[in-house]
Assembly symmetry: C2
Homo-oligomer: 267 residues x 2
C-alpha cells in the first residue's frame, strides 16, 4: 500500500449507537435490540424506568427528571430515565453523550407500530425526536405484545438495516424509519418492503365500570380496523409476512389542503 | 314563499361544538374560546382536570380514566377528564356525546404552537385526534404564556374561521387547522395567512441541580431558534403580525425518502 495514502486515510471511527424504547429498560425487546447491534458500534442505553407505551411525543416540563446508572446490560453504559421516551433522547444527547450519536435506535417494541399507531407510539416518537435533531434514527417493533415474544427472527433484519444506515447509503437530513416485523417463524419472512403509512386505526371503545366505591371509571380498549385496501401500505406488507419500512417525517403540513385554502378561501 | 319549497326545506340543525384544551378546564384560554363561539352552536366542553402541556399525542392505557361534571361554564355542559387532551376527545365522542360532534376546537392555548411545537402540543394533538376520526378540527394558540394573557383580539378571528369551517367551505375528509395568533393589540393584526410549518425548534438545554438530599435532577429548558428563513412559514407570518393557519395532517410518511429507498436500496 502507498505509504502516503496509508498515513492520510483516517482511522474509521467507531459509531456511537444510542438505544432507547418505550416499554422500559427491563423489557426483553430492548435487550434483543442491544444484542442485534452490539457489534456495530459503541452502545449507550438511556431508557425509561417504567413502561411508557402510548406516550406519543410527550415531554416532561412540569417536573424534574432523573437519570440513574443501570447495570441492566453488564458492561454496556446504560441509564434509566424517569421521563418519557422523548425525554430519554433529549437527556441522552445533552447530559450523557454531550454530543449527537451517529444513530438512535428505539425498541424493539412489544407490539405493532404500523399505520396511525406511529402517532401514539413512544417508541416511534423517540426515533422522530432524534431525527428532528438530525440524528439518523430507526424504530423497531415486533407484532407480538407478549412478554415472551420471540425476538430472534428480528435480529437479522435489524442488523441489516442499521448497517445500511450507518454506511450512509440512505441520504436524508432527518432520516427516520419505522420498521415493523411480523411475528412469524424466520423461514416465513419474505424480505423487507418499503411502504407508506396505512389509514388503519383502532375503533375506540371504553370499558365502563364502577370502582369499589361505586364511582364510574373508563378504560380504553378497541378493535383494529384497516380502512386502506391498497398494496403499498405497512399493514398490507405485514399481513403478507414482509418486514415493513415506512420512512417517517415531522412536517405535519397538509400541503394539498394548503393549496386549496390559498385558492378558495378569502381571508 | 312557495309552500312546497317551504315544507321540504330541512330545518337547519344546530351544530355541536366539542371544546377541549391542554391547559386544563380552569385556564382563561378555554373560557375565551367558549365565549368566542358560543353563538355558533351547542357547546360541550371536555377538558383535562389539570395542566397537560407538552403531552403530545399521549393516551392513557395503563390506568382508568375519570369523567366529572363541571359547573365551570354555568349552563354549558362541561366535564373534566383525568387523562390527556387526546383522551378527552376519545371519551367525549364515545361516552359524552355518543356521536361525532360537527367540529372539535382546542385551546386557546397559553403560548405558541407554531413550527415543530405542533408535535409536542397537547392542544394540537387533541385537534389532530378529532381529524383522525373525520371530525373537522381546529387548534387555537395565543403567543402569550402568561395567565393574564389578553385573549380578546383572538375572538374575532376564531369566530370567523370556525364559521367558515362549519359552513363547509373547506373540503377535506380529515380537516385540521393549526391557528396561532400574535399577542399584539387588535389594531396591529394584519389578517389571516395560510402557511406551512416552519423548521424552527427549541435548542434544548437542561438545568442541572441537586435536590435537598444531594441527588441530581434535570429540568428541561431551551432557546427557540428558527432555521427556516422563507416567507411561507407560520413563524414568518406571526413575526409579521399575521394570524397563521397551517393545515395539519397525520400521515407521517416521508414520500420523498420512500421514492429514494425504492430506487436505490436493494433489500
Amino acid at each position: 500500500m502507498n505509504r502516503l495514502l496509508f498515513t492520510i486515510m483516517p482511522k474509521k471511527k467507531t459509531p456511537t449507537i444510542l438505544i432507547t424504547n418505550d416499554d422500559g429498560i427491563s423489557a426483553p425487546g430492548i435487550r434483543a435490540l442491544v444484542e442485534a447491534v452490539k457489534e456495530l458500534g459503541k452502545i449507550v442505553v438511556v431508557a425509561p424506568d417504567k413502561p411508557q407505551s402510548g406516550m406519543g411525543h410527550a415531554i416532561t416540563i412540569g417536573q424534574p427528571l432523573r437519570l440513574t446508572k443501570s447495570k441492566e446490560f453488564g458492561d454496556i453504559e446504560a441509564y434509566t430515565c424517569s421521563g418519557t421516551p422523548v425525554d430519554c433522547v433529549k437527556l441522552a444527547v445533552d447530559k450523557v453523550l454531550h454530543q449527537k450519536p451517529d444513530i438512535c435506535l428505539s425498541g424493539i417494541n412489544h407490539g405493532a407500530n404500523h399505520s396511525i399507531n406511529v402517532i401514539y407510539s413512544g417508541t416511534m416518537s423517540a426515533a422522530l425526536e432524534a431525527s428532528i435533531e438530525s440524528i439518523p434514527s430507526i424504530g423497531f417493533s415486533l407484532m407480538d405484545y407478549s412478554i415472551e415474544a420471540n425476538f430472534e427472527p428480528s435480529k437479522k433484519y435489524i442488523k441489516q438495516i442499521v448497517t445500511e444506515v450507518l454506511a450512509g447509503k440512505i441520504k436524508d437530513k432527518h432520516l427516520c424509519l419505522n420498521v415493523n416485523i411480523p411475528a412469524v417463524d424466520a423461514s416465513l419472512i419474505r424480505g423487507i418492503k418499503v411502504c407508506r403509512q396505512a389509514y388503519a386505526k383502532y375503533e375506540e371503545d371504553f370499558i365502563d365500570r364502577k370502582d369499589p366505591h361505586g364511582k364510574s371509571y373508563f378504560w380504553l380498549t378497541g378493535a383494529f380496523v384497516n380502512f386502506d385496501k391498497s398494496k403499498d401500505t405497512d399493514v398490507w406488507a405485514l399481513k403478507h409476512n414482509y418486514v415493513s419500512v415506512v420512512p417517517v417525517q415531522f412536517d405535519l403540513t397538509n400541503h394539498l389542503l394548503k393549496k386549496q385554502l390559498e385558492k378558495n378561501i378569502r381571508w
